[in-house]
C-alpha cells in the first residue's frame, strides 16, 4: 500500500444496527465507488476477491467503501428479523454518506449478485453518477429460490433420508411462518414475502436496454466461471487464489471512461506503481 492510502474499518449506524464498513482511502481521490456485495450465504466466498477489487481501485485513485449488510458478517443486527427493504436502506444510507463527502466527486455504484439488484434499484431512484453491475440478480425471489434449490440438493447428499427436505417443502414452511436454516442463516416468512417486491429495473437487464433508458453510464456484465469465486459455482477453496486482474483491468478501464477520470501523467504513474 502506498503513502496516504489506508483502509479504515468502522461501524456505520443505521436503524437498529451498525454496519461494518471498510473505507479504502487514497490521497487526492478522483472518484468514489460504493461496492454493494453478495448476499449472506455467498459472502464468505466472494469476500476476498471483492476486497482485492477495492484495493485495486484505491491504488488507482478511487476512494472505495465496502460493507456488510445489516445482520450479516461483521455487522450487527439479527438476520432473521431483516429483509431486502432493510438492506436497500443500507445501500441508500451509505450512498448518501459517500456522496456527501468532500470534495464532491463522481459516485459510482457497483453491485454484485443480489447487490446488483439493490445498487440498480438505488441508481434507478437517482443516486450515483454511473452504475456497474456484475451478474445482477433479476429478482430477489428468483435469487432466494435458486439458493434454496442448491441447499435442498446439498441436503439430499448430507442429511439422513428422514431429515431431507425439498425446496418446495422449505418454501411452504416459510410461508407458514417458520424459520428455515439455509447455510447458517435463518430465513423468515417476512424475507420470503418481501423478496416478491424486488426486481431489477427493466432498463438494467442488459447494456442495450440501459443505454436506451439511462443518460448516465451503465455497464452490465454477466460473469462466467472464470470469475469464480465472485460468482458460483464454488467447488473448491483453492479458487480463492484465482487471478482476476483481467476482470479488474477491463472494468476499471470502463469506469475511467464513464466517469471521464482525468488520467494524466501523475495518475498513470500512480497506476504503474500499483
Amino acid at each position: 500500500m502506498k503513502d496516504g492510502q489506508e483502509e479504515q474499518a468502522g461501524y456505520f449506524e443505521v436503524p437498529g444496527a451498525h454496519l461494518y464498513t471498510v473505507l479504502h482511502r487514497t490521497p487526492d481521490p478522483l472518484a468514489r465507488v460504493l461496492l454493494v456485495g453478495s448476499f449472506a450465504h455467498e459472502r464468505h466466498v466472494s469476500w476476498r476477491p471483492w476486497a482485492r477489487w477495492a484495493r485495486y481501485l484505491a491504488a488507482r485513485g478511487i476512494e472505495v467503501l465496502r460493507f456488510d449488510y445489516r445482520g450479516v458478517g461483521e455487522s450487527t443486527g439479527v438476520f432473521e428479523e431483516l429483509c431486502f427493504s432493510d438492506w436497500l436502506e443500507d445501500v441508500r444510507l451509505l450512498a448518501k454518506w459517500l456522496s456527501d463527502r468532500t470534495p464532491r466527486l463522481p459516485l459510482l455504484l457497483h453491485g454484485l449478485g443480489i447487490g446488483g439488484l439493490l445498487a440498480g434499484t438505488c441508481f434507478h431512484e437517482g443516486t450515483g453518477d454511473a452504475l456497474l453491475l456484475w451478474s445482477p440478480a433479476s429478482s430477489a425471489n428468483k435469487f432466494l429460490r435458486a439458493g434454496l434449490g442448491r441447499w435442498a440438493n446439498l441436503g439430499q447428499l448430507l442429511e439422513s433420508s428422514s431429515s431431507r427436505q425439498t425446496a418446495s417443502g422449505l418454501i411452504e414452511q416459510m410461508e407458514q411462518g417458520s424459520l428455515i436454516e439455509v447455510e447458517g442463516y435463518l430465513w423468515s416468512g417476512r424475507l420470503w414475502r418481501d423478496s416478491f417486491h424486488f426486481e431489477l429495473p427493466s432498463g438494467l437487464a442488459d447494456n442495450e436496454a440501459a443505454s436506451e433508458r439511462y443518460v448516465k453510464p451503465v455497464r452490465v456484465v454477466q460473469l462466467g466461471k472464470d470469475a469464480a469465486p465472485l460468482v458460483g459455482p464454488h467447488p473448491g477453496f483453492a479458487e480463492e487464489a484465482n487471478d482476476l486482474s483481467w476482470l479488474y483491468a477491463e472494468n476499471f478501464a470502463w469506469m475511467a471512461g464513464a466517469l471521464a477520470l482525468p488520467m494524466g501523467e501523475k495518475d498513470e504513474a500512480r497506476c504503474a506503481v500499483a
Binding site: Y11, R43, H44, R48, G73, L158, E183, Y185, A241
Partner: protein, 311 residues
C-alpha cells in the same frame, strides 16, 4: 464511522509491517457501560483463528455467534483475520491447505497473539480453532508462550486430499443419493474396517505426523484442551465412521495419563457448527469448559447476573 459498536470493537495489529485486522468482543460483566479496552486487563483472552473459510466471521457467521455468546458469559474474545484472510494484508496462496497442515501459519499467528496479549495486557490466551483453524491452533500453541489453553472444534489429524477426482466425487454422490449406492458404501466401509484391523492400530499413511508431534508436545504439558467433535453422518458421539482410524483415541493416548483433555461430542452439529443445534451445542460445551478451567471475575459476575434474572 466508529471503531466500536455495542459490545464489539475493531482492532488492527500492525507490528513487523504486517497488518492483521480483527474484532474484539468485550466481556459482558453486567455493567451498563460496555467500557473500553482496559476491560481485558488481567484477563485471559480467547483468540479465534481462521478455518478454511476466508473470513473471520466463518461459514454462516458461526464464529460471530460463538464469540458473542462467550463474551456474554464474561470472557473477552478476539477474532483475527490472519494474513491472506478476510480484511488483513497479504494474498491467499493456492496451496493454503498444505501450508496450514504443515504449520505454516503458526509463527505469524504466535507473533500476532504476542502483540495482542501485550496491547490488551492479557494474562494469557486460549486459542480457538475450527477444522483447519484447529490445526493452526495446535501448531501455534508450541510457539506461543501466552497460550493457556486450546479449544479445538472438529480438528483433523490427517492430510486431506484437496481436490478429489471427478470420478471419485461422482461415486460419492451416487453412494449418498441412491439406495443401492448406500449399500455399496456400507460394504466399502466394512472392507476398510477389515483393512484397518489387519494394520493392527498403525497410523494411516496420510496421518499428519508433524501435527501429531506438536499435539504430543503440547498436550503432555497439562495444558487444558477442549476437543469438540461433530457427529459423522455414519457414526455416533465421538466415534469415527466404520473403517476409519480413531484419531481421537490416538491423541488421548499420545497425550498421556496426566493430560487435561476434555473430549465432547456436539450432538446435532454440522461440520461448520453454523446450524442452530450446532451453535447451541458448541456454546454450551465451551461455556462449561471455560467456567471449569478459567473462572474469571467478569465471568462470575455475568453468571450471577444470569442467575439473578432467572430467579
Amino acid at each position: 464511522m466508529k471503531r466500536a459498536a455495542q459490545s464489539r470493537e475493531l482492532i488492527e495489529l500492525k507490528a513487523n509491517g504486517t497488518t492483521v485486522r480483527g474484532t474484539l468482543h468485550r466481556a459482558h460483566n453486567g455493567a451498563a457501560d460496555p467500557g473500553s479496552n482496559d476491560r481485558a486487563q488481567g484477563q485471559v483472552g480467547i483468540v479465534f483463528l481462521n478455518s478454511m473459510s476466508s473470513t473471520r466471521a466463518a461459514y454462516g457467521d458461526s464464529a460471530v455467534h460463538l464469540a458473542d455468546a462467550i463474551a456474554e458469559c464474561g470472557y473477552t474474545v478476539f477474532r483475527l483475520d490472519l494474513p491472506g484472510y478476510g480484511d488483513s494484508d497479504g494474498d491467499m496462496p493456492a496451496d493454503l491447505l498444505d501450508i496450514v497442515n504443515r504449520g505454516g501459519l503458526a509463527s505469524i499467528a504466535a507473533a500476532k497473539i504476542a502483540e495482542l496479549a501485550s496491547r490488551f495486557e492479557l494474562t494469557g490466551v486460549i486459542l480457538q480453532g475450527h477444522c483447519a483453524g484447529a490445526v493452526t491452533a495446535i501448531h501455534a500453541s508450541r510457539a506461543c508462550k501466552e497460550c493457556r489453553g486450546l479449544i479445538l472444534m472438529a480438528p483433523y489429524f490427517h492430510l486431506p486430499q484437496i481436490v478429489r477426482s471427478k470420478a471419485r466425487r461422482q461415486l460419492s454422490d451416487w453412494a449418498l443419493k441412491s439406495k443401492f449406492g448406500g449399500r455399496f458404501s456400507n460394504v466399502f466401509d466394512r472392507l476398510k474396517a477389515l483393512r484397518l484391523k489387519l494394520r493392527t492400530g498403525k497410523l494411516p499413511e496420510n496421518a499428519n505426523k508433524s501435527l501429531l508431534d506438536s499435539w504430543k508436545e503440547v498436550a503432555s504439558t497439562r495444558l487444558p484442551i477442549l476437543v469438540v467433535v461433530p457427529p459423522d453422518r455414519k457414526s455416533t458421539g465421538v466415534q469415527p465412521r466404520l473403517g476409519e482410524f480413531d484419531y481421537i483415541a490416538h491423541i488421548v493416548r499420545l497425550a498421556g495419563p496426566r493430560s487435561r483433555i476434555t473430549i465432547k461430542a456436539a450432538d446435532g452439529a454440522d461440520h461448520s457448527f453454523s446450524n442452530r443445534s450446532g451453535r447451541a451445542a458448541i456454546r454450551e460445551v465451551t461455556e462449561n469448559w471455560l467456567h471449569c478451567n478459567f473462572p474469571q471475575k467478569a465471568a462470575q459476575a455475568a453468571q450471577s447476573e444470569v442467575s439473578a434474572l432467572s430467579a
